[in-house]
Homo-oligomer: 231 residues x 4
């Protein structure tokens, strides 16, 4: 069972910085019929464009003008859908990450030996996060989160704490089965760490030294979940 794939997928071509105007619009808007559908589509388009721009330049440096151009709407239109730039940012995070929770909680409820589950965890992360725009959202959350304490709180409350609880439950049950030490259950962050590091790495150093996420995560999990000598 997989989550719905992220919707914000249109990868607009990399933008010229302050170049010639060229074609502003993303072409004639898709002919969805109902007003509601068109409205939802616009919202999506704006979110997708915002993700592109925020990712490329950071929250402060991103210009709503560019977001509008990329989304194929007028600047004012953004304000019909979002209160302001900050709202747009929080909606972006919310829209992209919320759908993930269910999937992770489902996985966390599994009753399977850790060393059998680990591949599924890796695949889930790679397919649903690392290879999607969600990677960029998480990177944004990491980069900009500090300046948006309310967003951080929302994210912690709605997303992170639930994921942590799920993983912790998983680890506790594994510990009860003797597969991992009790102590690991105290730090579910350890499970996620290499994945997150890969996200950061890919943004900063990929071009100097590529990093194979899948392999790194598997290596990590093999070490963590390897059958071990009785202490």
């Amino acid at each position: 069972m997989t989550t719905s794939h992220p919707r914000l997928v249109r990868k607009a071509p990399r933008r010229r910085r302050r170049g010639t105007p060229s074609q502003h619009r993303a072409g004639p808007a898709p002919q969805s019929s109902t007003r509601q559908e068109r409205s939802a589509a616009r919202r999506e388009a704006i979110l997708a464009a915002a993700l592109d721009e925020f990712s490329a330049r950071g929250f402060e440096a991103a210009r709503l003008d560019d977001v509008a151009k990329r989304a194929g709407v007028a600047k004012g239109t953004i304000y019909l859908y979002f209160r302001d730039k900050e709202s747009l940012f929080q909606e972006l995070v919310r829209a992209m990450l919320t759908p993930l929770i269910g999937t992770i909680e489902a996985l966390g409820a599994a009753e399977v030996p850790m060393n059998m589950l680990s591949d599924q965890i890796v695949e889930l992360f790679v397919r649903e996060v690392y290879e999607t725009r969600r990677k960029d959202v998480i990177r944004l959350m990491i980069s900009e989160g500090r300046r948006f304490p309310k967003l951080a709180e929302f994210y912690y409350r709605e997303v992170l704490s639930r994921i942590i609880a799920a993983v912790r439950g998983l680890l506790r049950r594994a510990a009860a089965r003797g597969e991992v030490p009790e102590a690991l259950a105290e730090f579910p962050q350890i499970i996620a760490a290499p994945g997150l590091i890969a996200i950061i790495w890919s943004g900063l150093f990929e071009k100097f030294e590529p990093l194979d996420v899948r392999k790194m995560m598997k290596t990590h999990f093999e070490l963590l979940f390897a059958p071990r000598r009785a202490p």
Copy 2:
């Protein structure tokens, strides 16, 4: 001796220049005597203030006006020491992280079983990074690095690649002694991951849920470096 000719030129009505410099700001007691010392102290003060402001608001949102105020200098003074805002940022990263390399490389050269070395690694990280301003610099590097490709390159070349090489060497020797699987040496990032995650966590979620870095890192290392059954 100033020329004594009468002033021929009407002061253009709108143009004011001629700031009243006011007495050179008290600040935190200028007691260093030589010009060189005072100059170095100012540079330091500016760097420290910049770290504060960049950390609190992010690079773009930080205002040099605030940096100046915090450093106890005038706005223009910053430009006597740094070419521009970006330069200031780069110098900050450079100045704070460069001194660390030697220490890490020394540690990486140790010929000690990993499970005996791990405590030293933890202590080094906690004392030299996590409990210092370096934590903030690394957080900045993570947050803002993407928008400063030159800085990312410098950081990779001068700092990261050397740390990675050191750790990799360490791991390879440990693998040769059968303490860890060969595969781990491929991903020195795994060693650092929990420490970095802790840095990010502390900035975003500490107040919702504190995180004991030391314990997390030790837990992680115990799992990684635990004596294991022969495969």
Copy 3:
């Protein structure tokens, strides 16, 4: 419909944005109806204001703030019409002088004895230049041209060289008719010199000693084009 989620983000204490646009400034009665007309009118207003300010203070010393005020627009509006201050200056010169060329070339094609044409030349200069804002533009060109090599080149290529060619043709034909010596055709600048000197004079010394351009030019032309003894 604005998103109704609660505001997640604390308004960072120092950051204000959100200007209060105030009602769109009255200015000199916005009575043009179409958007295009209003846009053109604004462009004109900005150019006119710029000419005033540049003339009064020089390019460097003129403040766009004042230009905006004088034009009855906000500072930012200038940037909707011109890339930057320098562009504004160039457009000013271009817009004011380009229309002149045709007229001058037409006059230069005339087949009339010089001493009959000279009055027309004087009148053209006085009515189309000396008594209009073009006088100020030419003064600006003379004053500031050196610092705008691109503009000087444009001006030479598009304006001056064509005027010179026209005048030279005129003089050559006059020389062929024995009205002026061949040598004069080599220096069409001589024809224009008193007019230009008058422009400079009027800016600097008019109030100490007025200068009658018309009479000066006529005097000059009478001397140049007087019937002369066969050599």
Copy 4:
């Protein structure tokens, strides 16, 4: 009898705009012995440097920092010799143009037929103005004079009106001898016009189309002073 040549002659090498610091000083100050001599030499050096910078960038854009560097003194030193930037400018004009007056008045007193004098006028202008830094001073006066009404007044009163009077006297006497029409004596500016145009031209268009001042002036004078038919 010739005027003393202008003193401000050291033509410092064209400056890099905002480049590497390189050698700031113009070498060890010349070993003039008395304090007074050294002081005068510094004043001269500053004036010469100011002329360079003002000429190259215009009054507003010229930086006293650059003037100081070029003169081989510290920025503060300028203020020991001149009240402020404007004073420096006026002193420059005064120092360079004042010495010229006597020479011109002497020439104006000559009792020689105009067509015999004209060559001397040309040579005086070319040697004492056009081929010296005085050309730049006059160009500056033309360019910036408007913004310094007091300077313009000084210039008119001390320099221009005396030159005009001299030339007018000359022309009147020539008219009395029947060499030129009375009317010309009304407009001594006509005599100077081509020379001034050449100064402007050389700054703006020389590289597109060179101009032979000497020849232009001679051509002009030949036309003005040619023996003419009795009317």
